[in-house]
C-alpha cells in the first residue's frame, strides 16, 4: 500500500501507450514515485531553509528538481501561495487542481500597469535597553508574546533573570536595590526632594545644575524618567510641580554625559501633557499656565531636534498629536495654544506652512467668535491669536528680503488675498502690523 495511488501509474502508462500494466509493476512503480517525490521534497526543504523561510514555495521545488538534474516544472512559478480548487470525481474522491485564471490578452494589454510593489525599506528601534524591553509600538505587547516560552521555568530557573527580561508573570520584582549603590539612592532622593522644594530657590537651582552637569548618573535615568511621569500624572493641578519636573526633564536632556535616547519614548508623554493638557495648574494664573506651555514647547522642540535621528517616527508622531489637538474645536484654547507652538517647535516654518496654514481659515472663525464673545475665554483666545501671528511671522524666515521700492504697507489687493487665505481677523492683524513680508510668505509669493 502506498499513498500514491497505483491507478495514477496505470493512467500515465496508458497515455504513453502501455495498455495492461501488471499489478505488481504498478504497485512497485507507485512506491517508487512516492519515494522520488519525498526525495524532491527533501531537497526543496533545503532551499527553503537557506532562504530563511518557513513556507515552502514552488520555486523551491523547481530549484530542487534542478539540483537533482531533472527538468523543472514550468508554469508554476509564483510568489504567492497557489490557489487550489476542488472537484469531486465521485463520493469521497476529491480531486484538487490549481485554479488557472483565464486571461483575455486584449484586456491584459490595455489594462493600466499594475501598481509597483512597495520598496523594501527598514526601520530601526530598540528591542532591548540594558536588558529590558521598552514598551514602544515597535515591540510586541506582553499580551502578544504571552504564549511564547520566554523564560526558563523549573527548579533551576533564576527568577531574577526572568524579572529582568521584563516578564510580568513573574512574581519576583527585580532586585533593584542591589544594583543601585547606596550613594545613588541617596542622591536620587535628595535631588527629587530638592527639585520640589517650594521654600528654597537655592536648593532647586543646585539640584538642577547638579542634574544638568554631573556625570555618572546614568543608572538613575530610568528612575528619573519614572519620577517625572508619575509627578505629571498625579499633580496636574499643581503648576509648580509641573514646571519643576519640566525643568528636571530639561536637565536630563541637556546633560552631556547621560544617554537618554532609549528613554525618549517614555519621556515624551509627560512633556506633551504639559504642552497640550486640557487643564493645567487648576486655577493658577493664566500667564503661569501659558509659560509652562511655552516651556514644554521648547522642550518638545529640543527633543525633536536631538533624538529624531535615533527614531524615524518621532517627529511625525509628535506633529500628529499636536495637529490632532489643534483641529479639535472641543478642546480649550489652552490646548490649541500648546498645539500651535508645539507644531512650530517640532518642525519650524515648514510644518507651519504645511499643517497650520491650510487649516487657518476655519480655525479663525472659531477664534473670532471667542474674541467677540467677551467671556472668560477671551483672554485665552487672544493668547492663541498672538501665538498664531508669531508663528506665521516665522514663515518668511529664510526667504529673500524684498527688493527696495516695494510697498512697505499691505495694499488692499494683498489684504483681499489674505482674507481669502487666513480669514479677516488675522489678515487685519497682519495689515495692522504692516508685516508685508509675512503676508507675502503666507500667500506663497
Amino acid at each position: 500500500m502506498s499513498v500514491w495511488n497505483p491507478d495514477n501509474i496505470r493512467d500515465v502508462a496508458e497515455s504513453v501507450g502501455i495498455a495492461n500494466l501488471n499489478n505488481d509493476v504498478a504497485d512497485n512503480l507507485a512506491r517508487d514515485v512516492e519515494y522520488r517525490i519525498a526525495q524532491v521534497l527533501e531537497e526543496a526543504l533545503k532551499f527553503m531553509r537557506h532562504g530563511r523561510r518557513t513556507v515552502l514555495t514552488t520555486q523551491d521545488i523547481s530549484n530542487a528538481l534542478r539540483v537533482l538534474d531533472v527538468e523543472p516544472l514550468y508554469g508554476y512559478e509564483s510568489t504567492r501561495p497557489l490557489r487550489f480548487g476542488e472537484a469531486s470525481l465521485g463520493p469521497g474522491q476529491p480531486l484538487f487542481y490549481v485554479e488557472d485564471e483565464e486571461v483575455d490578452f486584449e484586456k491584459l494589454i490595455n489594462a493600466p500597469l499594475p501598481k509597483i510593489p512597495r520598496e523594501v525599506t527598514f526601520t530601526a528601534h530598540w528591542l532591548a535597553v540594558e536588558g529590558v524591553q521598552p514598551s514602544i509600538p515597535q515591540n510586541p505587547t506582553s499580551a502578544e508574546s504571552r504564549n511564547l516560552e520566554l523564560v526558563s521555568k523549573g527548579p533551576n530557573a533564576n527568577p531574577t533573570l526572568a524579572a529582568m527580561s521584563g516578564n510580568q508573570n513573574v512574581a519576583v520584582k527585580p532586585l533593584v536595590k542591589h544594583v543601585l549603590s547606596k550613594e545613588l539612592q541617596l542622591y536620587f532622593e535628595k535631588v527629587c526632594n530638592a527639585f520640589l522644594d517650594e521654600s528654597s530657590e537655592e536648593y532647586r537651582t543646585s539640584a538642577y545644575s547638579s542634574l544638568r552637569e554631573d556625570p555618572g548618573l546614568h543608572q538613575l535615568v530610568p528612575y528619573f524618567v519614572q519620577f517625572i511621569s508619575e509627578k505629571v500624572t498625579h499633580s496636574l493641578k499643581d503648576i509648580f510641580v509641573l514646571s519643576q519636573v519640566m525643568r528636571m526633564t530639561e536637565a536630563l536632556i541637556l546633560n552631556k554625559s547621560l544617554y537618554v535616547d532609549p528613554y525618549v519614548a517614555s519621556l515624551v508623554p509627560p512633556v506633551l501633557t504639559c504642552l497640550i493638557g486640557r487643564q493645567l495648574g487648576g486655577n493658577a494664573d493664566l500667564s503661569e499656565q501659558f509659560a509652562l506651555r511655552d516651556f514644554a514647547a521648547s522642550l518638545i522642540g529640543l527633543i525633536a531636534k536631538k533624538y529624531s535621528h535615533a527614531s524615524h517616527t518621532l517627529k511625525p508622531r509628535l506633529a500628529r498629536s499636536c495637529l490632532k489637538n489643534f483641529l479639535d474645536p472641543a478642546k480649550p484654547f489652552g490646548t490649541h495654544y500648546g498645539a500651535i507652538i508645539g507644531l512650530h517647535a517640532v518642525g519650524g516654518p515648514d510644518v507651519v506652512r504645511e499643517l497650520i496654514l491650510p487649516n487657518l481659515k476655519p480655525y479663525e472663525k472659531l477664534l473670532r467668535d471667542a474674541i467677540a464673545e467677551d467671556g472668560p475665554r477671551r483672554p485665552e483666545a487672544e493668547k492663541v491669536l498672538g501665538a498664531l501671528l508669531a508663528v506665521l511671522s516665522t514663515l518668511h524666515e529664510g526667504r529673500a528680503h524684498m527688493a527696495n521700492g516695494h510697498a512697505a504697507i499691505v495694499t488692499d489687493e494683498l489684504r483681499e488675498q489674505l482674507n481669502e487665505k487666513v480669514g479677516e481677523l488675522i489678515a487685519a492683524k497682519i495689515a495692522e502690523a504692516g508685516d508685508v513680508q509675512t503676508a507675502h510668505a503666507i500667500l506663497g509669493h
Binding site: 533545503k46 531553509r49 512597495r118 523594501v120 532591548a128 523549573g154 527548579p155 529582568m164
Partner: protein
C-alpha cells in the same frame, strides 16, 4: 584531502612551480567532487603525477600505468561483489536448486516413481513464478523483526529505572536497522506497518531521519537514500554500562526464538557497543539520571550515533590505535606582524599623547599590549603557516580603531549577584520583503547593511538612512544619490552575503577603514566579490558545482571559506580564482561555515548533523562533534577561540570545548524553525542568538552558580524564604523522578523548554531574526524582516 594537503605544502615552500602544480589538480575538482575514497591510491597517484611532470622517466610511467590498472581492477571487483551481494539479498534462494530439481524429476520419471514425482512437482510449484523463486522466509523470519523489537521495547520499559535511560538509546538503532532490513528483504507492507507503529517513539528526537526514511519502500531506495546509506555504511555507536549490556544480551539470548536473535544480529553487525564501568563514568550515576529525567526528551550522548567515533575526534576508522587520539590544536591568537605591531604602537602612542586617557582607564598602548598578549598555556599558529599579504596603512588604521573600541567598550563582566548583564539590542526591521529576503549582514564599521534576495540581487543600504557617498574623491557617482545601492550579477537566489573586516571611520585616521568588500554566494554555484568603492563585481569564484549555501570571511580578511550543496567546504584567498583547499568529508550539504578567530581553523556544520573543524594549513579534519538532532543552521566561535557554539533548527544551541573536543552544554529555548544567527560578546561570556521564532535571546556561557549558596548570600536577612525555595526544588525533583517510575515511557513533553542559562529573551513583532551581531563595543545589532 590529500590533494589539498599537497597544495599546502607547495604554498608553504613558495616554489616557482606552485601555480603549475596546483592548477591541474584543482582543475579537475569541479567535475569530480572529492570524496574520501581509497585514499592511499589517490595519494600515490597525485604524487606520481607531479613527479612525472617534473621528470617523466619510463619506469615511473610504467609504474603509474600498472597502478592505474590495479585500481580499475579493484574497482571492478568491488562492483561485482556489490552486485553479487545485492542479488543475494533480493533473491535469497538462488538458481542452483532449480537445476537440481529438474535433474531429480528426470531421474524419478526415468525410474517410474510417478507418485513421488507428482508430489515433488506439486511442492515445487508454489516456488516458481515466472522463473524466479519465491523468498523462502515464510514462517521463520518474517515477523521476527517486529516481534523482537516489541519484546525489547516492553522489556526495557519494565527494567530497572537505573538502566532504563541507557537502554532506551538502544531502541533507535534497532528500529532503523530492522526497518532497513525489512525493506531490503522485500517486505514493503511489513516494513511500512512496523515503521508506522513505532515511529512516534522517536519523533521529537529523530524527526529529520524519520522523515527521510519514511518514503523508503523498495530495496533500491535503501541503496539510493542518503540517510539509509549513512546508516548502512557506518556502525552505530552506543555507550552502555556493563551491567546494562550484559542484562540486554541475556534477555536477547533468552528470547532467542521470539526474535531475540534478529535483534542481537543487528546489534552485532550494525552497531558498535562500547561498554563502560558504571562507576567510571558519572553519566550513569543516579544523580545524573534524575537530572535527565526532568528534561522532557532525552538527547543522544555526544559519542553516540552514526559516525562511530570517539567524542570530538574526527577519526572514524577501525584502527584502535587511532581512535581517541585528538590532534593538538593551536588555539592561541595569531601574533601580529612585527612591522604592523610597531606601526600600531607608534600610532597609539601619538594618540595617547594627544588625548590622555581619563583616570582609571588604560592608555591605548597598555590596552594593545593586553590584547596581543599571548597566553602562556596555549600554542598559537605562526604567521609563516598562514601567509598574509604585507600589511598596509589601512590595516594599521583598523587595528588602532579596534584598540580604541576595545578600551571604550561596554564591559560585560558576567553575572553579578544573580543579575545578568544588561545588554542593549538595536533592531533593524525590514519591510515589504514578501519573505524574499534570504540573508543579511552588517558591516563592522556599522555604516552599511547588505541584504541578499531570492530575486538574485543584493541591496546595500546605509544604516543611518543618509545617502551613500563616494568613498574616494576621484570616484564620481553617476547614479542619483540615494541611501541604497543594488548589486546585480548573480543568476540565482543569493544565500549569503558577508562584509570584509573593517572599522568605524574616525577623524585623522591614516587611511579609510570603511568596509570595502562584500562577498556573496548564490544558487548559481558562484561566489562573487563586490567592490564597495565602485559598486561593481570584481571577481567571480567558480569551483562549487552545486548551490553555495554559506560563506564567511577570515578574521583578518584575505581568506574566506564557503560551503555548499556539493558536500564540500572550500577555502579561498581573494586574489586567486581557484580554491586553495577543499574540505571534504561531510555526508550531506555543508550548511554553514565559520572561521576560528586566529584564522588557522575553519568550522563547518552540515545536515548530516555533525559539526567539523578543519585545519587551514593541512586541510585535514581535526575535530568532529555529534549530538545535534536537527539541521545545523548557525555556527560561531568565541572571540577567545576556545568554545564553538552551534545551533540547529530544533531550537538547541550546543557549546563545544575545542581543545578536549567535548560538549560543554546544551541550551534550549528557541522555538522550532531554525536559529539563523549566533554571535559572541568581546569577553566571550555571553552569546546572543536570533531565529525564525522571532526572538532574540541572550545566553549565559558560564554555568550558573550553585543555587542554594547563591540565594543565601543574596537573600541575607530573609533566610527563611531561601530555604523554602530549596525545599520546593527538591520536592519538585523527587516528584519528577517518581512520575517517570511506573511505565511513564517517553511521553511527549512540552514543545519548548527553556534552560536556566538563558539570560533574557526579547520577542519581536512577527519578525524572524536573520542576523544578530555583537559589535566591538558590546552592543547587539539585530536584523529581521517583518512578515505580517
Amino acid at each position: 584531502m590529500p590533494r589539498s594537503k599537497k597544495g599546502g605544502r607547495s604554498r608553504k615552500k613558495k616554489q616557482p612551480e606552485t601555480a603549475a602544480s596546483t592548477a591541474p589538480v584543482t582543475s579537475e575538482a569541479p567535475t569530480a567532487p572529492v570524496l574520501p575514497g581509497p585514499s592511499d591510491n589517490s595519494r600515490e597517484d597525485a604524487s606520481v603525477s607531479t613527479a612525472a611532470r617534473q621528470e617523466p622517466t619510463i619506469s615511473q610511467l610504467a609504474r603509474r600505468r600498472l597502478e592505474l590498472e590495479l585500481l580499475t581492477a579493484q574497482q571492478a571487483l568491488t562492483a561485482m561483489l556489490i552486485e553479487e551481494q545485492r542479488t543475494l539479498v533480493t533473491k535469497p534462494s538462488a538458481l542452483p536448486p532449480v537445476e537440481e530439481k529438474t535433474d531429480v524429476i528426470d531421474y524419478l520419471a526415468k525410474k517410474g516413481y510417478t507418485r513421488t514425482e507428482a508430489m515433488l512437482r506439486m511442492e515445487s510449484a508454489n516456488q516458481e513464478i515466472d522463473g524466479r523463486s519465491l523468498p523462502q522466509l515464510s514462517e521463520d523470519q518474517r515477523p521476527k523483526y517486529r516481534q523482537g523489537f516489541d519484546l525489547t521495547k516492553v522489556w526495557i520499559e519494565d527494567n530497572l529505572d537505573l538502566y532504563k535511560p541507557e537502554l532506551r538509546r538502544v531502541l533507535w538503532p534497532l528500529f532503523v536497522y530492522s526497518f532497513l532490513d525489512l525493506v531490503s528483504s522485500f517486505y514493503p507492507q511489513d516494513a511500512k506497518q512496523f515503521f508506522e507503529t513505532n515511529k512516534n517513539l522517536f519523533l521529537p528526537e529523530h524527526a529529520e531521519d524519520i522523515r527521510a526514511l519514511e518514503p523508503i519502500s523498495l530495496p533500491e531506495h535503501v541503496q539510493d537514500n542518503t540517510v539509509a546509506k549513512i546508516y548502512r555504511g557506518n556502525k552505530y555507536r552506543l555507550i552502555l554500562s556493563n551491567p546494562a549490556f550484559s542484562n540486554l544480551m541475556q534477555f536477547l539470548e533468552n528470547k532467542h526464538k521470539e526474535g531475540g536473535s534478529v535483534m542481537s544480529a543487528i546489534l552485532s553487525s550494525y552497531c558498535t557497543i562500547i561498554t563502560k564501568e558504571r562507576a567510571a563514568d558519572d553519566r550513569f550515576s543516579f544523580a545524573a539520571m534524575l537530572g535527565r529525567a526532568r528534561e522532557s526528551e532525552t538527547f543522544p550522548a555526544e559519542d553516540e550515533g552514526i559516525p562511530g567515533h570517539h567524542p570530538g575526534s574526527a577519526y572514524t576508522g577501525d584502527n584502535p590505535a587511532m581512535t581517541g587520539t585528538l590532534p593538538r590544536l593551536k588555539l592561541g591568537k595569531l601574533p601580529p606582524e612585527p612591522e604592523l605591531e610597531g606601526d600600531v604602537r607608534a600610532e597609539l602612542e601619538e594618540y595617547d599623547a594627544k588625548n590622555p586617557p581619563p583616570p582609571g582607564r588604560n592608555t591605548l598602548v597598555q590596552e594593545y599590549d593586553q590584547m596581543i598578549k599571548k597566553e602562556e598555556d596555549e600554542e598559537a599558529p605562526s604567521r609563516a603557516e598562514i601567509p598574509f599579504p604585507p600589511s598596509t596603512a589601512r590595516d594599521v588604521a583598523i587595528e588602532v580603531q579596534r584598540v580604541k573600541e576595545n578600551r571604550d567598550r561596554f564591559r560585560i563582566e558576567g553575572r553579578t549577584g544573580g543579575v545578568g548583564p544588561a545588554v542593549s539590542v538595536c533592531m533593524f526591521t525590514f519591510h515589504n520583503t514578501y519573505d524574499r529576503l534570504t540573508c543579511l549582514d552588517f558591516s563592522d564599521d556599522n555604516m552599511l547593511v547588505a541584504a541578499g534576495f531570492e530575486e538574485s540581487y543584493i541591496r546595500v543600504w546605509s544604516l543611518d538612512g543618509k545617502e551613500i557617498k563616494p568613498t574616494h574623491a576621484g570616484l564620481e557617482d553617476v547614479t542619483p544619490p540615494s541611501n541604497s545601492k543594488r548589486l546585480f550579477g548573480h543568476s540565482g537566489p543569493v544565500y549569503a552575503v558577508a562584509f570584509a573586516p573593517s572599522a568605524a571611520r574616525t577623524e585623522g585616521e591614516l587611511a579609510p577603514t570603511n568596509a570595502r568588500w562584500l562577498l556573496s554566494s548564490s544558487a548559481d554555484k558562484t561566489i562573487r566579490l563586490w567592490s564597495l568603492d565602485l559598486w561593481q563585481c570584481m571577481v567571480v569564484y567558480k569551483g562549487h558545482d552545486q548551490p553555495v549555501w554559506d560563506l564567511s570571511w577570515g578574521p583578518f580578511g584575505y581568506y574566506f571559506v564557503s560551503g555548499g550543496h556539493d558536500k564540500t567546504a572550500r577555502l579561498w584567498v581573494t586574489d586567486r580564482i581557484r580554491q586553495q583547499r577543499i574540505f571534504a568529508g561531510h555526508d550531506q550539504d555543508v550548511d554553514c561555515v565559520c572561521f576560528h578567530p586566529n584564522s588557522a581553523y575553519v568550522f563547518t556544520g552540515s545536515c548530516d548533523h555533525t559539526v567539523r573543524m578543519w585545519a587551514v594549513t593541512t586541510g585535514n579534519c581535526v575535530r568532529m562533534f555529534t549530538g545535534h538532532t536537527g539541521n545545523i543552521t548557525a555556527l560561531a566561535c568565541s572571540r577567545n577561540g576556545k568554545i564553538l557554539a552551534s545551533a540547529d533548527d530544533h531550537g538547541s544551541i550546543f557549546l563545544w570545548d575545542l581543545a578536549p573536543g567535548r560538549l560543554l552544554k546544551r541550551m534550549r529555548g528557541h522555538g522550532k524553525g531554525g536559529i539563523w544567527s549566533l554571535s559572541w560578546n568581546v569577553e566571550s561570556n555571553v552569546l546572543v542568538s536570533g531565529g525564525a521564532d522571532g526572538t532574540v535571546r541572550v545566553w549565559d556561557i558560564n554555568p550558573p552558580a550553585p543555587e542554594p549558596s547563591g540565594s543565601q548570600t543574596r537573600a541575607g536577612g530573609e533566610g527563611s524564604s531561601g530555604t523554602k525555595i530549596d525545599t520546593n526544588a527538591t520536592a519538585a525533583s523527587t516528584q519528577a523522578s517518581a512520575s517517570v517510575g511506573p511505565g511513564a515511557g517517553k511521553k511527549k513533553g512540552k514543545e519548548n523548554v527553556v534552560t536556566p542559562d538563558q539570560i533574557s529573551a526579547f520577542p519581536t513583532k512577527k519578525s524572524p531574526v536573520y542576523k544578530v551581531k555583537f559589535t566591538n563595543m558590546n552592543l547587539i545589532i539585530a536584523g529581521g524582516a517583518y512578515l505580517p
